[in-house]
């Protein structure tokens, strides 16, 4: 009786191993994509938190308020916004306006949005507020 010598078993084993490798790679890729997507989402949430801080400060300045120099605003789902506002310069002679009728207040604002995982986005803005003197 002649011994049976074939390649079906090794081939099948190799195929199974290759499939396992491919599956593992796919799983790893999916995990990486998920992490990347999750990171992008976190950064976007941090940016939106920072943007909301900027918008709220602009709104307060437009309403004639004087916001506190340092503020911490609660945001959604554990994120927060930290604001730093400084009045850098008061121009009594703003360009192209009559002297004594208006003053220009130059502010710089830093708005930092921080989400629960620690991801943060920071916006810096220069703002001018014109204030009539009458």
């Amino acid at each position: 009786m002649r011994p049976h010598r074939g390649f079906a078993l090794p081939f099948a084993l190799a195929l199974v191993a290759l499939s396992a490798l491919l599956a593992a790679d796919a799983l790893q890729g999916a995990g990486t994509s998920l992490a990347v997507a999750s990171g992008a989402l976190e950064r976007q949430r941090a940016f939106e938190a920072a943007e909301s801080g900027l918008a709220r400060t602009l709104q307060a300045l437009d309403a004639g308020e004087r916001p506190a120099p340092l503020r911490r605003l609660p945001s959604q789902a554990g994120s927060r916004v930290e604001l730093e506002l400084s009045l850098d310069l008061v121009e009594t002679l703003p360009e192209d306006f009559s002297v004594g009728r208006i003053r220009a207040e130059r502010y710089s604002l830093t708005s930092m949005g921080v989400v629960a995982g620690g991801t943060r986005a920071t916006l810096h803005a220069g703002i001018t507020r014109l204030v009539p003197l009458e």
């Binding site: 192209d96 002297v99 991801t119 009458e134």
Partner: protein, 421 residues
């Protein structure tokens, strides 16, 4: 016969706006305070404070005997009142007033200061008249506040004669201590009246007034530069333009110069704009708006300075206003007031010195008729637009001027973003 003469005199007085007028209601400022907002305005020759928690309006009147609160002033033929409001950082405000009255042959001018505390009623801080301020003369313009070094003072231009002919006698810019009313010095003394108002300029934003601009009855523009390092308060006065040959002999500069900082590339300059009105009791055939350009650091005798002008369609009725680089002017035609925006760049007519006769064409000048008192002042106010953003608009009396450029109150000049994991 005597009754007829009196009637004729009265009719003459009533017919001339210079002989029997009163400055009409005109809001000057809104002062926000802890518990309320106080509005300061002038009304029929009185200074009026409304809106305070003290109740009814408080009215300060001047008559031949002095200043009185909430008492009707003695009947007078002529009562004029001009005021400037100086808000402080601590919530207090000062209102400095010039008032000129004439009762029959008697005439008197006042300079006074009213304190508006952070809470409570306004109170008269001091009041001086021409018996204690020699040379005050007849005042027809608001004072200017000179801030700092070492204390605030009030600058008053004067010298107009209350009786015809008005443009006689000497004039000066008198400096008065803002706290006590004591005369300090004269920033300018000339041999003609200084009837117009003053522009006070802080060039370096240090809170101190560095420079005043004034005009006189000889149609000159004066730069009064604060003398650095001088003890007390001292100014160096230089005539930077003589516009007599370019103006009608019946015209005068009656309103304060308008001063605005302008950038052309990397260089900064000051635009000084003055306009002509009618001398009291006279009528000029042509009126002009002149613009002078000089450097912010200009001192001493001026170098040749570009000057330009546009024709006005009537006598200037208020200090011009510059908003976002556009010039807004109010002109008077008899009893009507119109407001216009200078639509074109003024034409250069001369380089100073010397001045050359004008041969340039008349520029466009767009007008809008408004219902406002002839002595109205164009104010810059805030109002919300349809999108909820606050804009600055020009108001004459109660009329919003559509020709005034609407400027957003808030601008985001720049921004950048940093991200961190």
């Amino acid at each position: 016969m005597r009754a007829l003469i009196v009637r004729l005199l009265l009719a003459t007085a009533m017919a001339s706006p210079w002989l029997c007028t009163a400055v009409q209601a005109e809001p000057l400022a809104r002062l926000p305070r802890r518990d309320d907002t106080v509005t300061v305005s002038t009304d029929a020759g009185d200074l009026v404070f409304t809106g305070g928690s003290w109740g009814p309006a408080r009215r300060l009147s001047f008559d031949a005997t002095g200043a009185r609160w909430n008492a009707p002033a003695a009947p007078s033929c002529l009562r004029e009142l001009y005021a400037v409001v100086d808000p402080k950082d601590d919530g207090e405000a000062r209102v400095y007033v010039t008032s000129s009255i004439r009762e029959g042959d008697a005439h008197r001018s006042f300079v006074a200061a009213v304190q508006v505390p952070p809470t409570g009623e306004p109170r008269l801080l001091w009041s001086r008249d021409d018996t204690t301020l020699p040379g005050l003369g007849w005042v027809v313009a608001a004072p200017a506040v000179v801030h700092g070094a070492p204390r605030d003072s009030v600058a008053v231009a004067s010298g107009w004669s209350p009786m015809p002919p008005h443009a006689t006698g000497a004039g000066q810019v008198l400096l008065i201590d803002a706290d006590s009313g004591a005369p300090l010095a004269s920033a300018l003394r000339v041999d003609v009246p200084v009837p117009g108002g003053l522009a006070s300029v802080d060039l370096d934003a240090d809170g101190r007034t560095d420079r005043l601009y004034a005009t006189d009855a000889a149609m000159r523009i004066w730069r009064l530069q604060r003398r650095a390092g001088a003890p007390g308060i001292a100014f160096d006065a230089r005539a930077i333009a003589d516009l007599k040959t370019l103006t009608d002999p019946h015209a005068a500069f009656l309103h304060a110069p308008d001063v605005a900082l302008h950038r052309e590339g990397a260089s900064l300059s000051l635009h000084v704009t003055v306009g002509t009105g009618d001398r009291p009791g006279e009528r000029s055939g042509r009126h002009w708006l002149f613009r002078l350009t000089e450097g912010p650091d200009a001192i001493g005798t001026p170098p040749p300075t570009p000057m330009s002008r546009v024709a006005l369609d009537g006598a200037l009725a208020a200090t011009p206003l510059t908003v976002a680089g556009r010039q807004i002017v109010v002109t008077r035609h008899g009893g009507d007031a119109t407001c216009g925006r200078v639509e074109a760049e003024p034409v250069t007519v001369a380089t100073l010195p010397p001045l050359l006769p004008a041969s340039s064409r008349i520029e466009d000048f767009a007008n809008t008729t408004v219902s406002a008192p002839p002595d109205a002042r164009v104010r810059l106010v805030e109002s919300a637009d349809a999108g909820g953003a606050t804009r600055l608009r020009c108001v004459l009396g109660t009329t919003t001027l559509t020709l005034c450029p609407a400027v957003r109150r808030l601008q985001r000049d720049w921004w950048s973003r940093d991200d961190a994991p």
